[in-house]
Amino acid sequence: MSFLSLQIFFPFLCGMLLLFLPSSKQKYIWNITIGIAAVTFLMSLMLWTQFDFLIPTIFQWEERFDWIQKYGVYYHIGVDGLGLVMVTLSSFLTLIALYLSRNSIQKRVKEFAFSMLMLETAMIGTFCALDLFLFYVFWEIVLLPMCILIGVYGGEKRMYATKKFFVYTLFGSLFMLVGLIALYNINMTNHGMVSSSLVDMTLMKVPASQQFWLLIAFLLAFLIKVPVFPFHTWLPLAHVEAPMAGSVILAGVLLKMGAYGILRFAIPLFPDAMIQIAPWMIALSVVGIVFGAMMAYAQSDIKKLIAYSSVSHMGFVTLGIFSLHPTALTGAMFQLVAHGLSTGALFLMIGYIYDQKHTREMSQYGGIASVMPRYTVIFFVTTLAAIGLPGLCGFVGEFLILMGAFQSHVISSPVVIIGIAVSGVVLGAVYMLKLFEHMFLGPVTNEKNQKLKDYKWGQLIAMGALVICMVYLGIRPNSLLQILKIQHVQPVEISVVKEVRRVQ
């Protein structure tokens, strides 16, 4: 059992022990849970210390055991640059979400803590898994605690939201299972041996003719999770009905899992089919960007607005991924982190104010800036990061994506695509600034808002940590960019070039 396995299972094992504590001592339970989350975060920071930064694409901290030998399934985990960043993001967001949920969750605290910890284990496991079967198992395990979080601690329509979320995501995952099993069988017939480990599978090339349907099966699961238009309908519902911590994890980490899956598995395993499908996906991404932005503009429910903005931002990510250009891919990976931080912060702030006023309508809030100055500052910085102002983290990702997409070989008319995408950026600024103006600026419109409490020191430090990250990543993005390289970008690029040369 090496350190990485400990990192994965530590939250869950401690959560199991937590279940034996008596439910009455809520304060102790909260403290212990936050302690466990903090230890997990520190462990993920320790992963950075022994990470070799010069070869970020090689999997480090690797472990491999036989699991189900007959089908070539191994317990194979490891992190490369992307995995490491995602693990750190997950543990960081979980810690902050747990710390700030203290006031909103009053009953059944033990189960809440256990669900969050189990979710953390499943998330970190997904990002560390290098074996396709193990990845699938962790992917599915993520669903259960998320359903508990939404279903027990959520809003009024939480049952419907949970059911839709569960069934929709499971629908995609089961098709991925079929694709997975078909992939095993194809490898068995073509190469005589079956192995579920990613490293082995990238060596066993699948013939181009069979790649297409396998890719579709895999992509169905990932696209539903990201979400890409038109598979996004579960997202606004789930976000609105989830409790604050649930929304933060959902937007901050779970959406990234879909993109991670494409980067980690779809690109290396099915390079030829990716080239085939890229133009369609780019079209869908661009539609998603604009659609999300326009729907966000039309919302009056703040959480729904941010949910649709997530659809829009993840549209950028998929635009970057399917451009199949190294710059765009790097930008997409950076945007994963940036979006996680900024949207996570937004949901945390909305949750804070919802706990006090129990309404999410924009019209109920007006001119709060004079009542809650610290809150306003943090909200403003986060808004700017979400919009993509240079100097904050959101800009770097979007810029790299657009630049890479412009140079990409799979887009036939880059100017049109980039033009539409950029209009999405502009619309993003429009609705976020509109939100900010309606909520914060001007005189206080609602008398009850005079009584709102501002951030205290503890909460300020937690939110401040997020803001500092956003600023730091905006000013010195290279700290992340140097390790966000993906191992198989090069072959994709070469084959893209070959395709273009053949066409010409």
């Binding site: 699938y136 279903g151 027990v152 949970t162 089961l174 069988n185």
Partner: protein, 482 residues
């Protein structure tokens, strides 16, 4: 007359039959209050029977070729007897059932198990018929002992009619088979398949064989012979349900494995269209079973009825596997099917025996179990493990079982079957999830009662724990068995 060799060879059946008589006789002389005594004696005979299984080594035909004792049948038989053991241990929870006729119920269950053993080990079609009847007739009676007297009698009568027709169809098919091949022994039938005589088999033979298989599929509960399952499952007492859904399926799958996986040579003979006709028909049946089980379950309110539809769906998966791996060898397919069956049996036992706790006070419906997690968290967890395993979600054992099944079927080219299987999984997840949501997510006051003698419930919870253990470490089953 009986040499000691023969006695040892037939000892499993002898122990069960002797146990049945002893318990019945004891019931006449001992007061009804001494229920634990009956259970104890039943379990003792069961254990003796299981132990005598271990005498079975190499495949040997006993009783002049009527029965075949081999390792594969041995595993099925042990699974059957262990599930009876669990059911018998939990029967005292159903107080109304055992209040009136405790010794009769236990005796009937033992005879039923003996019939199951006959089915699994049979080599001769008439032995198989006797086993089929011996398995089913006690069930006709036991189903009628539910606490809703009117409903139970009606279900018992319906089950009896349909079961009797199935048995009659079976024996008629046997007559036709005998008339065309002059042999009723299964091994002799396979010899005929391997020889050139295969070409000359008349139509009556195939008609007879299809009647035999139809009768088996009735017992299994797949489309189009599944109409009895929801009604009978709803009306029977839950412990009997537990036995019925595990034992008859185990016995029939054991027989189907024998019948269909000893045909590997069929493909090399010309009338390939015959085997492909069988495969296509069974494939169509399996698709309809899976979809019927999943869509039908959506409209159910009663818990046991819902589990009946889930059984139809699961047997659809089994049929899908059999229809696409028709003709492969025993070794590869046995392991997958046996693992699937094991997990199905454990999950069903957990579900029905947990339901049997509270069933007599009030019917357990989907709406009744709202908020179970607040009043009885451990029982709710047991239900959750069982339901999630039936649904096939990781990390539970049901997922690994389904994964193995789909792996083989896709490997044989049955990709369309698996697509339907996936669709039916998704649909059935909806109703499993509805129950889970009611139990865990809703706040309500459930009327679920737990019996006060709490020690035995740990057996069920142990089984539920096995469901997760086999999900994470399935190689335990693999290495231990083989």
């Amino acid at each position: 007359m009986f040499s000691s060799d023969i006695l040892i060879q037939i000892s499993p059946y002898l122990w069960l039959t002797a146990g049945a008589f002893v318990v019945l006789a004891l019931g006449l002389f001992v007061q009804n209050e001494k229920k634990p005594l009956f259970v104890l004696i039943t379990c003792m005979f069961l254990l003796l029977s299981i132990l005598s299984m271990f005498c079975i080594g190499d495949p040997v035909y006993i009783m002049n070729g009527l029965l075949l004792h081999d390792k594969f049948g041995c595993w099925f038989a042990v699974l059957l007897l262990v599930s009876l053991f669990v059911v018998v241990m939990m029967i005292p929870y159903q107080t109304k059932l055992v209040a009136e006729y405790p010794s009769a119920v236990l005796s009937l269950l033992l005879m039923s198990a003996c019939g199951g053993l006959f089915m699994i080990f049979s080599n001769h079609l008439v032995v198989f018929f006797v086993g089929l009847e011996l398995l089913s007739i006690p069930l006709y009676v036991l189903v009628g002992l539910g606490h809703h007297k009117g409903k139970s009698s009606e279900a018992s009568f319906k089950y009896f009619l349909l079961g009797a027709v199935a048995a009659a169809v079976f024996i008629y098919g046997t007559a036709l088979i005998w008339s065309s091949t002059s042999s009723m022994r299964i091994d002799e039938l396979f010899e005929i398949f391997r020889s050139p005589l295969y070409q000359t088999l008349p139509k009556t033979f195939w008609f007879g064989l299809s009647l035999v298989v139809v009768s088996l599929l009735f017992k299994l509960g797949v489309f189009p012979f599944h109409f009895w399952i929801p009604d009978v499952y709803e009306a029977a007492p839950a412990s009997i349900n537990a036995w019925m859904s595990t034992a008859s399926k185990i016995a029939v799958v054991g027989v189907l494995i024998r019948l269909f996986y000893m045909f590997p040579v069929l493909d090399s003979f010309e009338p390939e269209h015959v085997t492909s006709k069988w495969m296509i028909t069974m494939g169509v049946f399996s698709i309809f079973s899976m979809m019927w089980g999943s869509i039908g379950g959506l409209y159910q309110k009663d818990f046991k009825r819902l589990l009946g539809y889930s059984t139809i769906s699961h047997m659809g998966y089994v049929l899908m596997f059999i229809s696409s791996t028709f003709g492969k060898s025993y070794d590869e397919t046995f392991e997958v099917l046996f693992f699937y069956l094991c997990i199905y049996v454990i999950a069903n036992l957990v579900m029905f025996l947990l339901i049997s706790q509270s069933e007599e006070k009030q019917d357990v419906t989907v709406d009744n179990c709202k908020g179970l997690v607040t009043s009885h968290p451990v029982i709710a967890l047991g239900f959750a493990f069982g339901l999630l395993s039936l649904a096939g979600l990781p990390p539970f054992a049901g997922f690994v079982a389904k994964f193995k099944l789909f792996y083989f079927v896709i490997g044989q080219g049955g990709i369309y079957l698996v697509i339907f299987a996936i669709l039916s999984s998704i649909i059935s997840v909806v109703y499993y999830f509805r129950i889970l949501a009611n139990m865990f997510l809703e706040d309500g006051h459930t009327t679920f009662q737990v019996q006060q003698e709490g020690r035995r419930i740990w057996l069920i919870l142990f089984l539920a724990f096995l469901l997760i253990l086999f999900g994470i470490l399935p190689q335990i089953v693999q290495n231990w068995l083989f």
